[in-house]
């Protein structure tokens, strides 16, 4: 048998999807930092997380990732897209780039992605749930209703989430996300 006929195959790269996800993670990361300063619910969620808490959300095996940590004043801080060697208190990883693309292109909501075993969570699941709640609220601000509806189980009613709060905060979060 001529074994050279069956060469070794090194994995290629999916550049476009990687870039898309990296951009999405950057926006979401910046938006969480911004929203934590604007929205009281998110502020409260972060206040209840332990001190020096940080987490990563990203794609296995090599990223991109998004790192968020809690700063000295108990607020969320976007810490970039590179993960250090040390493991964080909470790491939410999506198993592969395609699954991540499904999540970040809103074809699969977070909970559905969990149910379809696309995620691997290292760390306390209670923290992960807090982060999922934060992400849901951030999506509510960042995206129009028609898309957010795909990503959450139940879209908030007016009575639960006043339009004033929604639109005013949305503008503030957008400004803070995209200005430095």
């Amino acid at each position: 048998m001529n074994i050279n006929k069956y060469p070794e195959i090194k994995p290629g790269k999916k550049y476009i999807k990687r870039i898309y996800i990296a951009v999405m993670l950057w926006i979401v990361g910046r938006a969480i930092q911004a929203a934590c300063r604007v929205d009281r619910e998110i502020k409260k969620e972060f206040a209840e997380l332990p001190e020096h808490f940080s987490f990563s959300l990203g794609v296995l095996p090599t990223g991109p990732f998004m790192i968020i940590s809690k700063d000295g004043e108990g607020r969320a801080k976007y810490d970039g897209w590179k993960k250090g060697r040390n493991s964080l208190p909470l790491e939410m990883n999506i198993k592969n780039i395609e699954a991540a693309f499904k999540v970040f292109s809103f074809q699969e909501s977070t909970s559905v992605a969990f149910a379809r075993e696309r995620f691997i969570v290292n760390g306390d699941l209670g923290y992960a749930l807090a982060i999922v709640r934060v992400l849901n609220i951030v999506e509510l601000y960042l995206l129009p209703k028609i898309i957010t509806k795909l990503a959450v189980k139940r879209y908030h009613k007016w009575s639960e989430f006043s339009p004033v709060r929604k639109y005013v905060n949305r503008v503030l979060i957008y400004i803070r996300t995209f200005t430095f």
């Binding site: 493991s87 977070t110 909970s111 559905v112 969990f114 149910a115 379809r116 075993e117 696309r118 691997i120 969570v121 290292n122 699941l125 209670g126 992960a128 749930l129 807090a130 999922v132 709640r133 509806k149 959450v152 189980k153 139940r154 879209y155 009613k157």
Partner: protein, 424 residues
């Protein structure tokens, strides 16, 4: 049958079932090249005389299996120090397999011990963190002594570090026991009330597995079988504890439900049940049976059709055919409430149907009304809520827990409903 867009299923446990299933252990261990077993169990199991039965069965005629040691001091909350100590015994006695006889904490401890003795080392903390277990471990046999938790079919081990006040979770398919032994002699002596609530615990696993987000074809069929077996046998097992056929059926049901829920995951009932257990120290199964009808009511608008289908394994073909399709979901809920009522009667009121009625051994109420907000808050941090079809906010939790506390049905109109039917 629904084929979801994507799903995973794994039921990698060899199941031995029958009135003399224990006797099959030596042969199976021989196939796995093991001949000296360490038995891990707890005081309650020993006091019930079950270890005697196990020992006799596995060292009987024709068996080459020897027992290296018996560790019978597993605490109800498995601790890593205990794990380290037991692993030392295993090594000293040169054992090559583990037999865990008991409930959840015994099995968790056994899984922890297995990690240590298979991967080497003398401290379980060295293996903390996900993904540490990546190879086959030593043969592990699970012999459940309650027909309910289904933990003999799960790939998780939760082991506490009491110094740091953390619970370490180890997840790996290699933590699945190699063999689960379902033998009615192990559950024969369970008191009526425990039989009732552990049975309903298994029922909850199966019912939730059938409509929660991770459902898949095989979790569906295992769940259906489990519901059918429980519905047909639970009353008999409670009323005639010595009926081996019913006991075996219940043990099978619990294992099937274990397979179903560990592959499909569970929702609101488990979410609130875990929280209630954590806050008020109520036994897991008791909470489950109380919350079950509420979990169904809460998700009715999203998965009503699926809930309606459950009527068949619960009540049988005749009732199912007679009930018009539209009424089936509510009939299912009604039927489960009816079962709880019957079990309450059969156990002299010990099988509580409302949270306010749960009492401890001294007759003291275990879930005071003012615990409701604490439970609701605690539930927000429990993973099961992800897999529930409908969203659960803190306010939703309060509403459900209050109804369950009083023991009155949910007001269906008050449930905040998401937009559409659930797609899988």
């Amino acid at each position: 049958m629904i084929l979801p867009r994507y799903s995973e299923f794994c039921g990698r446990v060899k199941t031995l079932s029958g009135a003399s299933a224990l006797e099959a252990i030596p042969g199976e261990l021989k196939k796995l090249n093991a001949s000296k077993a360490l038995i891990i169990t707890d005081r309650g199991v020993v006091a019930a005389g079950l270890i005697k039965i196990v020992k006799a069965a596995i060292t009987g005629k024709g068996s080459r299996l020897t027992i290296g040691a018996v560790f019978d001091d597993t605490p109800p909350d498995s601790d890593y120090k205990v794990v380290n100590a037991v692993a030392k015994v295993y090594k000293e006695k040169k054992c090559d397999a583990i037999i865990a006889v008991g409930g959840g904490s015994v099995l968790d401890t056994a899984k922890g011990v297995n990690i240590l003795v298979s991967l080497g080392g003398d401290n379980l903390l060295d293996y903390e963190g996900a993904g540490a277990v990546k190879q086959r471990l030593k043969p592990l046999v699970a012999v459940p002594t309650t027909a309910g938790t289904g933990s003999e079919m799960t790939l998780v081990a939760v082991i506490a570090d009491h110094d740091r006040h953390v619970k370490m979770t180890f997840v790996s398919y290699f933590l699945l026991p190699d063999i689960a032994v379902l033998d009615p002699r192990m559950t024969k002596t369970l008191p009526a009330a425990i039989t009732a609530f552990t049975g309903m615990d298994a029922m909850t696993h199966a019912v939730e597995a059938y409509f929660c987000l991770g459902k898949n074809p095989l979790s569906d069929t295992t769940a259906f079988k489990a519901i059918q077996l429980i519905s047909n046998n639970i009353m008999n097992a409670v009323k005639n504890p010595g009926d081996m056929e019913s006991r075996l059926a219940m043990a099978n049901a619990a294992a099937l439900a274990g397979i179903a829920f560990s592959n499909s995951m569970v929702g609101l009932v488990h979410n609130l049940g875990h929280a209630t257990g954590a806050v008020c120290h109520v036994p897991h199964g008791v909470c489950m049976s109380i919350y079950l009808p509420y979990g169904l009511e809460y998700n009715l608008h999203k998965v009503g059709d699926l809930i309606g289908e459950i009527l068949y394994p619960l009540a049988g073909a005749e009732v199912f055919a007679k009930t018009p399709k539209k009424q089936r979901p509510l009939a299912t809920i009604e039927y489960i409430r009816g079962m709880n009522e019957k079990l309450k009667k059969a156990t002299g009121g010990r099988h509580a149907t409302a949270l306010k009625d749960i009492v401890d051994r001294e007759g003291k109420q275990m879930v005071p009304r003012d615990a409701i907000p604490v439970i609701a808050k605690n539930a927000m941090g429990d993973g099961a809520k992800i897999y529930n079809p409908e969203e659960q906010s803190y306010e939703d939790n309060i509403m459900v827990i209050e109804a369950a506390w009083e023991g009155v049905p949910l007001d269906l109109k008050k449930i905040k409903k998401g937009p559409k039917k659930q797609k899988f």
